[in-house]
Assembly symmetry: C2
Homo-oligomer: 340 residues x 2
DNA sequence: GTGAAAGCGCTAACAT
DNA sequence: ATGTTAGCGCTTTCAC
């Protein structure tokens, strides 16, 4: 397989230098550190760059400078609605800087996490922001070896690797369940899986809150199979209703599951919130599609992304791998799906 | 800002070579073209690689070999449900190869398309797969300059750049509208924007089909504002109902808009399909959340992605930039939202 | 403020 | 099947 392109040689820094009558390094400076070059020269150089359409070669740049300018962002479900605000936060913070972000999906598998980490290490990333899926710090040694700052996102319950920012999923889940209890619901199901560490923390919070009230029922925990959360919530809710008609509230692992549950309830003739209380997780907005509007645990998703980026930049600026985890607050936003 | 990592020097190919008692190029071959190295040597070398934890430096590799091994995938809304099967098709085809795919969002803006193309050119991609958003081939000169094969996805109505694969959105839209007409609907609205070239093709198909029947009404075309299609469909449908209660069917730009319209209809007390026919676009599955199940124009999304990747690999194997567009079939999948 | 020299880590091309 | 040589295009370091 011929992976190279055509015969046409790309223009290089030297081409620009020759045409501008300066040395290559001056062109390099004009492009990366304009203030270090005299106004006159800079103007000439940038003119030539434009004229001959010079595009820098990132591989050469990365090789010579020992950094690629890439910030690697690793997460389990980058395409999910819940991740989207996080990504926006990250991109907004890096906006207009010299760093480029690159996203990679690691699914729910610690070994894929390791594989992707290795792929990025090969690229000398400037930094890594990750939402780890490993329950146990199996990839800890790998991360320790990495020559760049690492920010661990989303979950503060993990043993921190370098820097961390997130929420406590366990207490967030407790908050949700206690809210349901305070509204008079008592047979409360959990919808959605034991899939990764954050899910398990939510499960723990759910179990603790119910155990405290003497109402925990292992049979009321329902795992999802697929990834299309709305449809999952829908089918799961139907299944719950047929097998455990006594259940009077559901706490869902994410808002899409909750939305699916809401649709199913409506089709089953269950009144929400009278017959069934529904509480979601993440605090997404469905602009009226959810009728009644869903109660949800609102996470500062955008802020997590933004601050993760900020911590990374601070570490890069100082040149140190700092330690320290930041925990942000969550809030229960009461809609109409739990009011009674 | 110190972008470099810590002081620890990364192990290099030469380190491996020294330890294994061979020359660097032999290590390089053992890693990339194992069959060219004797079994014995290969075993020794891979042992050393494992032992000292050698990770190749992609920048050096890219610089020396003049290709980065990256396949750039550019599209307007990579996170959308409609794009997801396309991405799977692409990734499945490249699975286990030496090429890595890298995705980038270009939004709905031809200038962002140009910017991203330039960013990738700087990385010497092995190939590019793109879903262009430019109505006019403004980026054509840029693409002509690119030293690698380019596959244009989704829309066969564009002047082909190198290779193309997709469907004819105009006739697909016609198919949908004719279906609605055949079911006895006559006041048919169009939901969803004039945002990119594919949207406009659908609009053209819609207009043609209705004009042929003498039923085209410019006022029945409704543009969306936002990106959250379900919510958009929902609010737009409510607005349509209040302003044009006579409308008896809607053809939606995508299935999520259609889903939103379906929810709104149900809340408005409109019976689907009796009072209102709804037809979507893309052929996604909502597993029972859509009740009644939506009629939709089904596109071979996965196949488009898979074949785009295939065309690219064929071009790489032959070393030529081939020309030629492939048009795939679409099908109208009748649900219960247009049956009457 | 500008330049010369050296080399980042790897692979292509050409030996042997 | 393995090695030698040269160089990819840029940035670092140090000199002026």
């Amino acid at each position: 397989m011929r992976l190279r392109g055509g015969a046409r040689a790309r223009t290089t820094l030297s081409d620009v230098a020759r045409k501008a009558g300066v040395s290559p390094i001056t062109v390099s400076r004009a492009l990366r550190e304009p203030h270090k070059v005299s106004d006159k020269l800079r103007e000439t150089i940038l003119g030539v760059v434009d004229e001959i359409g010079y595009v820098p070669n990132f591989a050469a740049r990365a090789l010579a400078s020992r950094h690629s300018g890439i910030i690697a962002v690793l997460g389990p479900v980058l395409g999910s609605p819940g991740f989207s605000p996080v990504a926006s936060g990250i991109e907004d913070r890096f906006q207009a800087g010299e760093l480029r972000t690159q996203f990679a999906n690691i699914g729910l598998d610690a070994s894929e996490e390791a594989r992707q980490l290795n792929l990025f290490v090969a690229q000398n990333p400037a930094g890594i922001i990750m939402e780890s899926v490993a329950e146990f710090p199996v990839n800890r040694p790998l991360i320790d070896e990495i020559d760049c700052p690492v920010v661990q996102m989303m979950d503060t319950s993990l043993e921190p690797l370098d820097m961390g920012i997130g929420v406590c999923h366990r207490s967030a889940a407790k908050l949700a369940v206690r809210h349901l209890l305070s509204k008079g619901y008592s047979k409360i199901a959990l919808l959605g899986g034991n899939k990764d560490i954050r899910s398990r923390r939510r499960f723990e919070g759910y179990r603790e809150a119910l155990s405290d009230a003497g109402l925990y029922q292992p049979g009321y925990v329902f795992d999802t199979e697929g990834r299309n959360s709305v449809a999952d919530g829908h089918s799961l809710m139907r299944c719950i209703n047929s097998r455990y008609p006594e259940i009077d509230a559901v706490f869902c692992h994410d808002d899409e599951l909750a939305l699916g549950a809401l649709f199913a309830a409506s089709q089953l003739g269950l009144r929400v919130p009278e017959d069934l209380g529904i509480c979601g997780y993440n605090g997404l907005h469905f602009s009226g599609v959810d009728d009644p509007p869903l109660t949800s645990v609102s996470l500062p998703l955008y802020e997590i992304g933004f601050k993760a980026a900020e911590m990374l930049m601070a570490a890069l600026a100082s040149g140190e791998r700092k330690e320290g985890a930041v925990e942000l607050e969550v809030a229960l936003v009461e809609g109409a799906s739990t009011r009674r």
